[in-house]
Symmetry: C2
Subunit: 131 residues, 2 copies
């Protein structure tokens, strides 16, 4: 169900897991109402600790992507729960500024920057039915 975890990566396991689930939602492989495996089940499947999965679920709940219920597990929220707002967009812009700065510093002009950003966005839809 989920892409594998790269145990050799610098990126923490719980973050990789978050990214995988967000990608699943973006690709509409995980639709609102979809029930995710329990923390114990997914932990067994991925061969990681229960708390590592629980941490990812909790953070995704805080971000609005999931609702977590005792005895029912984690469920994907309707998009209205995590639709982009101005706070998110401001934060996103601030993150991107760090990358834009280094890119400009390395001689990447505005057009090429936009081209790379465009490629990144379009890479989502490749090999999936998203959008």
């Amino acid at each position: 169900m989920f892409t594998k975890i790269d145990m050799t990566s610098d990126t923490p396991i719980y973050q990789q897991l978050m990214e995988n689930i967000i990608r699943g939602i973006a690709k509409q492989e995980l639709t609102p109402g979809t029930q995710l495996p329990s923390v114990r089940t997914l932990a067994d499947e991925l061969e990681v600790n229960m708390h590592t999965v629980a941490k990812a679920y909790t953070l995704l709940k805080d971000k609005g992507f999931l609702s977590v219920h005792r005895n029912k597990g984690a469920v994907v929220n309707p998009q209205s729960k995590f639709a982009a707002d101005s706070v998110y967009l401001d934060d996103l812009r601030k993150q991107l500024l760090v990358y834009a700065t280094e890119a400009a510093c390395r001689g990447v002009k505005a057009g090429e920057w936009i081209s790379v950003c465009n490629d990144a966005y379009e890479e989502l839809s490749r090999s999936s039915d998203f959008m």
Copy 2:
């Protein structure tokens, strides 16, 4: 000379320092040949440890931004030393994909994504003589 370090930030000091120096180069406040303060001097100025500054300098050296000489300190490289290559651009696109995925997931359409990316790039030039 350098913007202050936010000691309460989640971002490690050495990373903030790297971002500050890269921003300085991007804004052409730090031009090729510019000599940076010695690790001990800058550490005193910022009230951080010598090794924290040394780590930032070493990583910036590895990225091609600085040359570090015994007895002469750190010097800003000519842009040819850190001009964007395909390896860098591939890595950048991979990083941006993570942000693009979450944005799309939150309902940000291609046009709005590009708009935010554009804003981030343009924010560089504001309040500076860059470009």
